[in-house]
């Protein structure tokens, strides 16, 4: 499997005008350490040199919108 897919979920009111990220193609992705559904710490840099990553920020995950 080429890519490891992460999804970061959020619930709440969507902003009318979404912020424009300062990140661009070709830039290094900021590292992070976050908990998965089992409480295990997942670090982006653990995948460096091993797998590509699809990172999805899924705001309003429970709304179906």
């Amino acid at each position: 499997m080429l890519a490891c897919v992460f999804a970061i979920c959020a619930f709440g009111q969507a902003a009318p005008a979404p912020p424009q990220t300062h990140l661009k193609v070709g830039m290094a992705a900021p590292d992070f350490t976050l908990s998965d559904t089992e409480g295990k710490q997942v670090k982006l840099s653990d995948y460096k040199g091993k797998k590509s990553v699809v990172l999805a920020f899924y705001v309003l995950a429970f709304t179906g919108g």
């Binding site: 970061i8 709440g12 902003a15 661009k24 409480g39 840099s45 990172l55």
Partner: protein
Amino acid sequence: MDSSPANKAFAEKIAVKFPLLSDWKRTTTKDYGLYNEASGYGTRATFVIDKEGIIQHLEVGRTAIDPTGAYQVCDLLQKKKAAPVPLPKP
């Protein structure tokens, strides 16, 4: 931004096969420039990050739910023909 237990319930409901992470403190959402101070929430976005940790594709906003662009970039990476994909014009 949801808690890990809330994410677990969601993951079981939709039977996801990939890690579902919680950004409870919103630090990662802020680091990626997706946090809206006024609302206190983030916005949807999809990033494709290659093995070297470099962003090869990003999509921000409501269209980010469509995985087509991410699929295309993943296909390029798989064929080892990865090249930066230009950002769409606003």
